[in-house]
Assembly symmetry: C2
């Protein structure tokens, strides 16, 4: 059986490796347009922060290992331009301009996503970067080094933008952040978002939310972001305003798309087209809270979906439960996490949300060195079901979000979650875990 995979990062290489382990006789070809395979994209901000480290440290497994040790026909510099679902063939062009064509019995789209580039004059100027793949990271790192960058303007304030703030400051590079939307972290409860904003500003970063950008301009070795009321000048611009799935080739072949124009898949990662699968940032998923389709591109799902495709191709039907959108990021000395729906998403999904925000200590009463943890919890008023949790704090947030994430998968009500027997010791939290304190408060609201 010929298994062809388009894209050689998390989803693609997870699928390739696992399929080969499942069935060593499989004929697996991976077509990757870039020269980079199987790397930790999420690690790029931390790698960029450290000038002594090579960006290729982020490579999890080198192409040679896949080729020689695993017997996977991994072809880099192979850009797929079309698929023919009738003939079960993919075609494209190599980096050196040669055409190629492969037939498949099973095909996997693991084409990922790419940064959104806003339609701005000067967006293609020298010194304007995005950060999604390893080549982006490499270019940024080289540019910072070569041009001794002292000041970066970041357009956007999402988690990549925020992680890059920390990364750049670690290299003693000053940062201004700007974006048109006046709300700092629009998906986050305002009280919690304010804590993150304060943290960022406390590090000397100027946060300008609500500034429409008119143009980018390169002038006299520097680069300028011009908005209505402010002109920002720096040595480099990072555009981090979100990503969009690489689904055009699939769409062109008639494969159905889902939310965010991601490739629509069922619980088995099958697309609308026979023998064609999709996994990773290019594919959608069922949301465990809404049971509706959602596009929430995250690394764990990409790996898990890649495995599921491999198993399904090899005859062991695996279906995935779906995603809760559980995510965490660090911004300087603050941990920021979420799982499930926020209040607006809950309303959109047809729930009647009740919410609570609590502020608790990160360690027990009488234990020194404690910080503050804010928990925002959302539940459905009529059913009492837990819908989502957001959390920020100086410590103890990153892994704490996982308990409500499991509760979402189990479709627990708040009054069930608040019976969870969670761990307690003075260095690690109060007797009542902050998420339990939030649940206890929320129950009171639900009962009224």
């Amino acid at each position: 059986m010929k298994f062809v995979i388009i894209g050689a990062d998390a989803a693609g290489m997870s699928a390739a490796s696992r399929a080969k382990r499942n069935r060593p006789d499989l004929d697996i070809t991976v077509l990757e347009k870039s020269q980079d395979v199987s790397y930790s994209a999420c690690g790029m901000p931390y790698n960029i922060a450290d000038p002594t480290r090579d960006i290729d440290d982020l490579v999890v497994r080198r192409a040679e290992v896949f080729r020689q040790k695993q017997g996977i026909n991994l072809l880099t510099g192979h850009k797929v331009t079309a698929i023919d679902p009738e003939q079960q063939r993919v075609s494209g062009i190599t980096g050196s301009g040669e055409s190629f064509e492969f037939s498949y019995d099973r095909l996997l789209f693991a084409t990922g996503a790419r940064p959104i580039l806003p339609d701005l004059p000067g967006i293609d100027s020298f010194g304007v970067f995005t950060l999604k793949n390893l080549e982006h990271g490499r270019r940024i790192k080289n540019y910072i080094h070569k041009y001794a960058v002292k000041k970066v303007i970041i357009i956007g304030m999402g988690y990549i933008a925020l992680e890059m703030c920390e990364s750049l400051l670690a290299r003693e590079i000053k940062v201004d952040m700007i974006k048109p939307n006046p709300t700092f972290l629009p998906w986050m409860n305002p009280e919690l978002a304010e804590q993150v904003k304060k943290e960022v500003e406390s590090k000397g970063i100027t946060v300008m939310a609500g500034h429409k950008i008119n143009k980018i301009e390169r002038t006299g070795g520097r680069i300028i972001v011009q908005s209505e009321n402010v002109v920002l000048m720096g040595d480099m611009i990072l555009v981090a305003v979100g990503i969009t799935p690489n689904s055009e080739i699939a769409a062109k072949a008639g494969i159905a798309l889902g939310p965010g124009k991601a490739i629509a898949v069922d619980a088995n990662m099958r697309t609308s087209c026979e023998n064609v699968f999709a996994a990773g940032d290019c594919a959608d998923a069922i949301h465990v809270v809404t049971d509706n389709k959602a596009w929430i591109p995250l690394a764990l799902r990409a790996n898990r979906a890649g495995w599921a495709v491999a198993d399904n191709i090899c005859g062991e039907m695996v279906s995935l439960s779906g995603v809760a959108g559980t995510a965490v990021f660090r911004v300087f000395d603050m941990e920021v996490a979420r799982t499930g729906l926020n209040e607006d998403e809950a309303k959109t999904a047809g729930f009647d949300p009740a919410t609570v925000t609590v502020k608790t200590r990160s360690r027990a009463h009488g234990h020194s060195g404690f910080g503050t943890i804010w928990v925002h919890m959302v539940a459905d008023r009529p059913s009492g079901r837990l819908l989502g949790v957001q959390m920020v704090g100086s410590e103890g947030v990153a892994h704490r979000i996982n308990a409500p994430a499991v509760a979402l998968l189990a479709k627990m009500k708040v009054n069930q979650y608040c019976q969870s027997d969670l761990a307690y010791a003075p260095p690690f939290g109060p007797v009542w875990d902050p998420t339990l304190t939030a649940a206890n408060q929320l129950i009171k609201i639900l009962h009224n």
Copy 2:
């Protein structure tokens, strides 16, 4: 309605405060034999570690606040010696030798537990301590100061013993540990227990497991522990070999006891005797994994059960789901956690356990500063149900145990747990959370 509570720590004062909030007209009397109320017992090792802090820093709310602001008749120095369930009366004696008697409509046993004292010659010597209540902590702290303690022998190797190691070393006091059982942490998977032992030994502590102790002796200002093959000499002895519930008065009144001689309660915290409740370290609970009774005295349960009693007395019937035995402690630079059953407990409960132990990084590939996390996971072979998890590591263990704890409450199978959408960011863990890696491995075993 007269609500009488015996014991003024976590369970007792949680019940008193909440009952008063629920129904301000309640006539609440709390009878406490000591002079200490409402303190963070778990914080004692950390407080003892710091000579600049007063042990009373651990008091969460002072007796005067309960009396004056909350209108609770809190009587310290009141030792209850008997109850008469027919007449609904409790009687006892005060610190100054006066008898007292109170009638009740509802009674709560929140009598806690006390340290076990092994039957050893010399166990009552000057300089031999246990650590369970605030007075114990106060005595230890005073003794260390007054006698400039340089060396402590700890009998026992449970979590109090281990936390006290850290505490004493912080005060530059040397520690030897000794106990008769040859297994270091007998409830823990040996591979994980070995990591904890190494951590303790790496700090210069002598760990002598498997040494039967013959006697304790005070001689020439020092104190000696004599076993078959070794004589240990120190300035102080801490006996930390476990605790036993204070259930004698209840038993004498004909109230049924459960496992570990704890007072047997139903899901509403009712004892076998009408209008008599029990909560906290003196009471048993349903185990969420086995559905059998278990005695696992922990702080969160004490607080939660206290609240449940208050609500039940005030007419809002609350039943508790039970305990998973989720616990965490820190030993120097290591976090140690567990939830649910270990392999032996699983067998005893009639399961057919399959187990796996995995060793993972605490941070992502390519992220600096990572440590190691060991996860041991237990499942039931025929049903695939998750039964328990143990974890040790240098970071990221304490809150990570909560995700499987919620899964236990939801009675999840391993193949459900491994679909959990858990958080990932490079500073906080690998893409696959260590508990997911363990679950993925365990599934393979379960399928074979």
